[in-house]
């Protein structure tokens, strides 16, 4: 029987939602780090929680992983309350935090054997499983080295390996690629895909829209402790706009004219960047027109009027733009929120 079939068999008796929260609240002193979060995460998928630093992502994950007690609201993991049935929840979830959650003084092997033993494996099976995981994660050479000598990419791997010693039903990945180089990041993505393919539900928090885009099937955008948008990737993008056009003109004096041209051609609000020759506009939001065609028309119009464009790009909306669109303020605006998450981590 394939793992998918096994999974389906199990899912029939289990509730369809891996996570369900209602009005989840966590306060630190005066700050409401998480302020009424409602989530419904279907089983067997990657669910992305997208937001800037200090939005409340880590705090939410910590409550779901039974590390923090909610101050209000309800949270259930596979139908089990995270406070009243914390131990049952712990038996089914794994958490990989922003920082390496393994013992840096111990070697890769020792870490995995230690956790294997704590999960109830006999010494021999714990050793076997540790060796197999290190091999699969390309860490066999570093197995005998202390984790503090590992590179960032290797740490993330040993960390994720530690989280799947027992295949969890739900895996929390809290910003798994923050601080990694693009290559290591891609490798972490491959691991996440392999884990989900075997039927584990993944809750992924990230600051990067492209990461959520690559991995998640549904995304919740969270800001200042609140879910401000939720849906499939397609729904979310449609609500924000298909993309944005970035322009750099040769002559700053022509900017007001170019701005007007763009506004008419794209039927969108045009933003002046701090750079005196740069303009940004969102395209394809309401009309449903092809964004590239719209942009091409705008370029042709600019050329006709003799406005020289030095540089042009059409990109997916960045997280900043998603935020701007959804909240009306950018990701940097709320510096106090940063300290909140800092405290939460302490």
């Amino acid at each position: 029987m394939s793992p998918q079939a096994a999974r389906a068999g199990r899912a029939a008796e289990a509730p369809d939602l891996a996570i369900e929260t209602a009005g989840l609240v966590k306060t630190f002193g005066e700050t409401r780090a998480v302020d009424g979060v409602d989530l419904a995460v279907p089983t067997g998928t990657v669910y992305g929680v997208l937001g800037p630093n200090g939005a409340g992502k880590t705090t939410t994950v910590k409550m779901l992983a039974t590390l923090l007690r909610p101050d209000g609201g309800e949270a259930q993991v596979f139908g089990h309350d995270v406070v009243r049935e914390a131990d049952t929840v712990r038996g089914r979830v794994s958490l990989t935090g922003q920082y390496a959650s393994v013992d840096e003084d111990l070697t890769g092997t020792e870490n995995l054997v230690l956790l294997g033993r704590l999960l109830g494996h006999h010494k021999r099976t714990a050793r076997e499983r540790a060796a197999q995981l290190l091999e699969a994660f390309g860490l066999a050479d570093a197995a005998g080295k202390q984790v503090k000598h590992y590179s960032g990419g290797m740490r993330r791997r040993i960390d994720i390996a530690a989280s799947i010693l027992n295949t969890p039903d739900l895996l929390f990945l809290d910003e798994p690629t923050t601080g990694l180089d693009p290559r290591s990041r891609n490798q972490v993505w491959d691991i996440v895909r392999a884990v989900v393919a075997q039927g584990t539900t993944v809750l992924l928090t990230t600051q990067y829209l492209d990461e959520a885009d690559q991995l998640a099937s549904r995304i919740a955008v969270i800001d200042r402790g609140k879910v401000i948008a939720e849906g499939t990737k397609g729904e979310l993008k449609a609500s924000v706009g298909a993309g944005s056009v970035h322009l750099r003109l040769r002559d700053p004096a022509q900017r007001p004219q170019a701005e007007e041209v763009l506004r008419l051609a794209l039927d969108a609000t045009v933003q002046r960047e701090p750079d005196p020759v740069a303009l940004t506009a969102r395209v394809g939001s309401s009309t449903g027109d092809n964004a590239a065609e719209q942009a091409a028309r705008a370029l042709a119009e600019l050329a006709r009027l003799g406005i020289t464009v030095d540089n042009f790009s059409l990109g997916q909306p960045s997280l900043d733009e998603v935020f701007l669109a959804l909240t009306g303020h950018d990701t940097q605006a709320d510096s106090t929120a940063d300290t909140t998450e800092g405290e939460a981590a302490a």
């Binding site: 935090g97 390496a100 020792e110 994660f137 491959d190």
Partner: protein, 282 residues
Amino acid sequence: MSTATTTTEKELAPVSAESLAALLITKDRPPRPSALSASLTFGWRAILKIKHVPEQLFDVTAFPIMMVLMYTYLFGGALAGSPSEYIQFLLPGILVMSVVMITMYTGVSVNTDIEKGVFDRFRTLPIWRPAVMVGYLLGDALRYTMASVVMLTVGIILGYRPDGGVVGVAAGIALLLVFSFAFSWIWTMFGLLLRTEKSVMGVSMMVIFPLTFLSNVFVDPSTMPGWLQAFVNNSPITHVSSAVRELMAGEWPTAEIAWSLGWAGLLVLVFGPVTMRLYNRK
């Protein structure tokens, strides 16, 4: 363990998706480990840490030797006529004092661990909750044993002759270990309560110095003013050092042993639950 040849970062081997998938298929989970097994596993972790950072044994080797030498020769002539006379009285007491002082490092190691993510990992495991803490203390018990052996060896070289023989000495050390295990719960509490390693050290010193010095470790309390005697005679350190002293001298001080164990029980009953409450709420 690590060799110099592997320290430079090589190209990281790729993740093998197939072998990973094969590993993930196994969905069966072993039954959760017993409280004892989980605690012993954490104790094993403490021993592994000692193996990787042997320098941390400095406080259970050099420090106790220093304590014995310093106080024997500093006070010996003045208090007992000669250092070799004094050490008969001093050694069991200084043993208690040193080991109780060393217990404060428990708080420091708890505190440094919390700073790291590994603590969160342990807290998401479905295991007997106090196992992490008990593991620290089991590892520390090993360190206390080492400190005791080191100090006794130095003492015997300096002329300490325990009349209780091997049995008496072993009984004394055993009692001291039980008391230290219980006493350490104060530090696990502070380790969880305070924000930084430095503040843990600071508070530990504030507690440890008066508590250990204001006892019968160095001198007979009858020479002290009445109000101080009242404190000293009721201090747990006095009870433990009297009990250890007499056990090592070949006697069986029932009352002092009872007092020591009573204090140990009280410390665990008070600071154990407080520690676990902080641990669960952290």
